[in-house]
């Protein structure tokens, strides 16, 4: 039953991605100044939105872990699994943002990278969460989950800074598409539809892989607990 649900969800996500791809490439009109290369927007911006959402999930998981770790061990483990899954899938989407952005920038601005506020804060965000994942992977001991939760909370503080960076400072990066004043927003309805289809599709895909990652981590926790119990039994028998 679980596999069937996963299969149906995967089919929906892939169908949505196919439809969104068609909208972005064949339905949305070509932009007047950047022409064809502007279509990178339909992957770049939704990926950034989904990455921010998953870092928020990681933040919620980290806070919940710190809240429950003393009194509700099982809840704390589930919260920790959400925090890890959110951070890892968030890093995947943030990597997409950091790669598609420079590809677009090279054609639009003539440069791959510039140390402006939006780009730099996004890179810092990515580095913080990569360090979070490295901590989870290579550190050992009973305090790793607590340290990771604290790092996850600090990392999430960068998300609003990234979001506000091109409002607070003058940047090479374009002005915000939404919520950036009276002139912001996508005027063409076909472009707007293509954009929202891509947001929905990448969100569906992201939620699917987030659920898979959570499942894998919960399984890992169960195996680790079983092994620890078996080792304890061996010690007491000896």
């Amino acid at each position: 039953m679980k596999k069937l649900v996963t299969g149906v969800c995967a089919a929906i996500a892939v169908a949505l991605l196919g439809w969104a791809f068609y909208q972005a490439i064949y339905v949305a009109p070509e932009e007047q100044t950047m022409h064809e290369v502007q279509r990178i927007f339909y992957y770049h911006v939704p990926s950034a939105m989904v990455a921010f959402l998953f870092f928020a999930i990681s933040l919620a998981g980290s806070v919940a872990f710190l809240a429950f770790r003393r009194n509700h061990a099982e809840w704390a483990q589930a919260a920790d699994a959400w925090a890890l899954a959110g951070a890892e899938v968030g890093v995947v989407f943030c990597t997409v943002v950091l790669i598609t952005g420079p590809i677009w920038g090279r054609r639009a601005w003539g440069i791959w990278w510039t140390w402006d506020a939006r780009l730099t804060t996004t890179l810092v965000l990515w580095l913080i969460y990569v360090s979070y994942l490295l901590l989870r992977r290579f550190a050992a001991g009973p305090q790793v989950q607590t340290l990771a939760a604290v790092l996850g909370i600090f990392g999430a503080l960068d998300v609003p800074i990234v979001y506000m960076s091109n409002r607070w400072w003058r940047t090479q990066h374009p002005a915000p598409v939404f919520g950036g004043g009276p002139d912001s927003g996508i005027k063409d309805p076909a472009m707007l539809a293509a954009f929202w289809w891509n947001v929905v599709a990448w969100l569906a895909w992201g939620l699917l892989i987030l659920a898979i990652r959570y499942h894998v981590e919960r399984q890992h926790q169960r195996y680790a607990a079983q092994e620890a119990q078996a080792a304890l039994d061996d010690t007491s028998n000896a």
Partner: protein, 79 residues
């Protein structure tokens, strides 16, 4: 069912690569060089996005299989 799912998933990068190749390298010879570059950059951005996402999914599948195999092996060892 599982094989069909893997087959469909494997078909995505192949179809995408074919699409990128067609858009970037099969343009008419009198196409403006700037337009050709625009098509290539867009194709590269889309292909890299899919490579990252599908690569991560494949890594997750490998990780889960290894995890299950290790658990089964440790259960099989008599204590």
């Amino acid at each position: 069912m599982k094989k069909l799912a893997f087959g469909l998933l494997a078909a995505v990068p192949v179809a995408l690569l074919a699409w990128v190749y067609y858009r970037a390298f099969c343009l008419s010879p009198d196409t403006d060089p700037a337009t050709i570059l625009n098509y290539r950059f867009t194709g590269a951005a889309y292909a890299i996005t899919w490579a990252i996402q599908l690569g991560y999914l494949a890594w997750l599948a490998i990780k889960e299989r290894a995890q299950n195999r290790n658990a089964a092996r440790s259960r099989a060892i008599p204590r």
